[in-house]
Symmetry: C2
């Protein structure tokens, strides 16, 4: 039975079997030292005799299987354990020259790394990034399950876009023209209305946006929830804050090693401040920044607000609530304060990581707002129908998984938090 590198400690003096990839080989004459990597970490193998013969011929990144005697000794640098190898078998060889320098001694060009992403992912950093990402997803589901949310799976092939027609990828669906879903927005609202009341989904969304920045992906993973019978958007913000804090707590608990690798001192804010959009001009003025009335926040504005929140409220996170209704999608609930809405964003470390709000539940208001945005309500009949049969007030939000992961770990590019990014130019690997 194969054991993992982090289990060796328990087998001092016993014979064990292991498998993994060859990270380094060091030949010191009669002995050959291998550092082997498996999914749990690194381990030193000491080979002599026949095993040393085999070891000398190994190219880096070959996969191997070994048996040997486990030795536990504090003085051994790599985790205080090593294996005195008895048998060493080459499972699958590797070409001698790797397309990416895994040891990370020389930095490989960004695009080249992503061209050879499978090899690139063998580095320590990506392994850590996706360990954190896995924690985030599990925590999101855990807290929402606990709070009575049902997991849903909504269609990604759709007949009509949710946010506007320009950023849709067209799909040929047999004889019909269809599109890829930009978000599960309509469907999660419909499922609130169909009696589930509280729903969540973790699934891919697709945006045909021409942007090609370090913070855009054309396919990304959206962490959505939506809840019924809410009083207003503040109740959604409260749930959003609760979910986020739980996710951060779990990362701190489970990913100490990974946070250390990236030098991250993750702090859970006591309370995430909620700024009202109509107070922004005053705030920007006090900092000496220009801000055009009723305009969208630029990347620079977002960064400024994060610094402001950090200094004033000791929170790297900040909600901006009540955006002008003009700037939000047609399904956003208008505020009683004219021209404003019950839509919010959550900014973190200079980037928008959540978009949410209370939604319209009155079908007449919804039709009016769809028309005002230039849509034909008839195209949305499948969605509008929901609202004619007792649709309660409701709201929700969506995290971008890759952005959240990337900002948590202070990565420079959201692609680093994506296994195989899809962007303006890239559909492979």
């Amino acid at each position: 039975m194969r054991i993992l590198s982090n289990q060796v400690k328990k087998y001092n003096g016993k014979k064990v079997a292991l498998a993994g990839w060859v990270q380094t080989v060091r030949d010191v004459g009669s002995l050959v030292f291998i550092i082997m990597r498996d999914r749990a970490g690194l381990l030193q193998l000491i080979c002599k005799g026949e095993a040393a013969e085999t070891a000398r011929k190994l190219s880096l990144e070959s996969s191997i299987e070994v048996t040997g005697i486990a030795k536990v000794d504090e003085k051994i640098k790599l985790g205080g354990v090593e294996i005195q190898v008895e048998t060493l078998v080459l499972v699958a060889g590797s070409l001698p020259k790797l397309p990416v320098d895994i040891a990370g001694k020389t930095e490989t060009n960004f695009e080249h790394r992503f061209d050879h992403r499978v090899i690139d992912l063998r580095r320590e950093e990506p392994q850590a990034i996706f360990a954190v990402q896995s924690t985030l997803c599990n925590a999101f589901r855990e807290i929402l399950n606990k709070d009575g949310f049902t997991e849903i799976h909504t269609p990604k092939i759709i007949a009509t876009g949710t946010e506007g027609g320009t950023s849709l990828f067209p799909v040929k669906y047999f004889e019909k023209q269809a599109y890829l879903a930009q978000s599960p927005q309509f469907y999660k609202q419909m499922l609130v209305g169909s009696g589930f009341e509280r729903v969540f989904e973790i699934a891919p969304v697709f945006r045909a946006e021409e942007h090609n920045t370090p913070w855009h992906l054309n396919e990304y993973v959206s962490l959505d929830f939506e809840m019924g019978f809410v009083r207003d958007e503040l109740q959604v913000i409260k749930q959003s804050e609760k979910v986020l804090k739980y996710m951060l707590k779990k990362v701190i608990e489970k990913n100490e090693k990974q946070l250390k690798l990236f030098n991250i001192n993750l702090k859970i804010p006591k309370k995430i401040p909620v700024l009202k959009y109509w107070d922004l001009p005053k705030i920007f003025e006090s900092i000496g920044k220009e801000f055009a009335p009723m305009s969208d926040l630029s990347r620079d504005h977002e960064a400024t607000l994060c610094t402001y929140a950090s200094e004033k409220f000791d929170s790297e996170f900040v909600f901006v609530n009540n955006y002008p209704i003009e700037l939000r999608p047609a399904y956003t609930q208008p505020h009683t304060k004219k021209k404003y809405s019950r839509g919010f964003d959550l900014l973190f470390s200079g980037v928008e990581i959540v978009s949410g709000g209370q939604r319209v539940h009155d079908p007449a208001v919804l039709e009016k707002q769809l028309t005002a945005k230039g849509f034909n309500p008839a195209d949305f009949e499948f969605y509008l129908e929901t609202f004619r049969y007792g649709m309660p007030p409701h709201g929700g939000q969506a995290f971008g998984l890759e952005r959240l992961t990337a900002r948590l770990l202070k990565l420079n590019n959201v692609r680093e938090a994506t296994f195989f990014p899809r962007d303006r130019n890239r559909v492979t690997p």
Copy 2:
């Protein structure tokens, strides 16, 4: 603070607030009885005076908010509790005529139900189906996380198909031609090879198949796992059996009420039998069924084998292993017994719910098999590269979530286990 219908018991004599949908209204003169439905179940509301006035005017399926005094009394039919209403507020009215008979007294035409799926989903059966489905997904993730698998998110927009070119939906990806992923097959293998070793994903897959049967969907949810350093396909089968049994166990623990609604006596088989393909002719002969050598199993063959396994091995589940290599995708590991493979299916109650196997890890064999299937290996360079840098023996499998759910609950059509099905004719709602 709103409470749920199943929490009323704890508040005997106290004032409580609730919200939900009006399922029935019964006017008996001075009193009006409402059965209200929230996400936790049904509850009786007793209205008099002003509340009774409001109640009389309610159309079914309107959403309401009430406050009142909780009364616990064993003699009350509906769960031993009721609310003596003090205030009743109409939150959102419903049109008087519903497109689907939610009470289920008259059966609504199948396609009509799915045209008005949001209303259809308010029935008791769909609510139960998706409660079970949610348990299945959580259990799948739980057991795999426990066994050291990492959750992955692979791209759904891809450059090349995995199983053959005919069943791909084309996507216009800016200037490029791309496709929707038929499965995460290539990517989950690549992530095994990139050092994660053990990975899983729950995500949509897309099949442009012309079939229009009760068991086909053109978009469905695939529960995938893939594991490295396996000896052979039997180790994958073992993991598959372990995962399935854990899922069944969790459904039995958490969904007693739902299983009862569908009259299901769910049994976990002690051991799921594994039939070898080359033994099938003998088995079919013994039952008096025809079976052409080296042919694929028909729906009738699959049903026959399930009955056979049920009678002979007391298992409603049966693995069929070692399909002819001709019948399996190019990435399937060939068996040492010529013409056969290390690919398997899991049949349940007459339907294939899992497809899996050991995969090729030798790049030369893979190129040969791709060519033999009529592919140009150059189109798969992004995938083949993985195999040149120490790719260990590996294998995996995929459950179809909707099929598994539907067969567990003995539903007649896989669409019943899909929130919003996509089939040959349907892209809305």
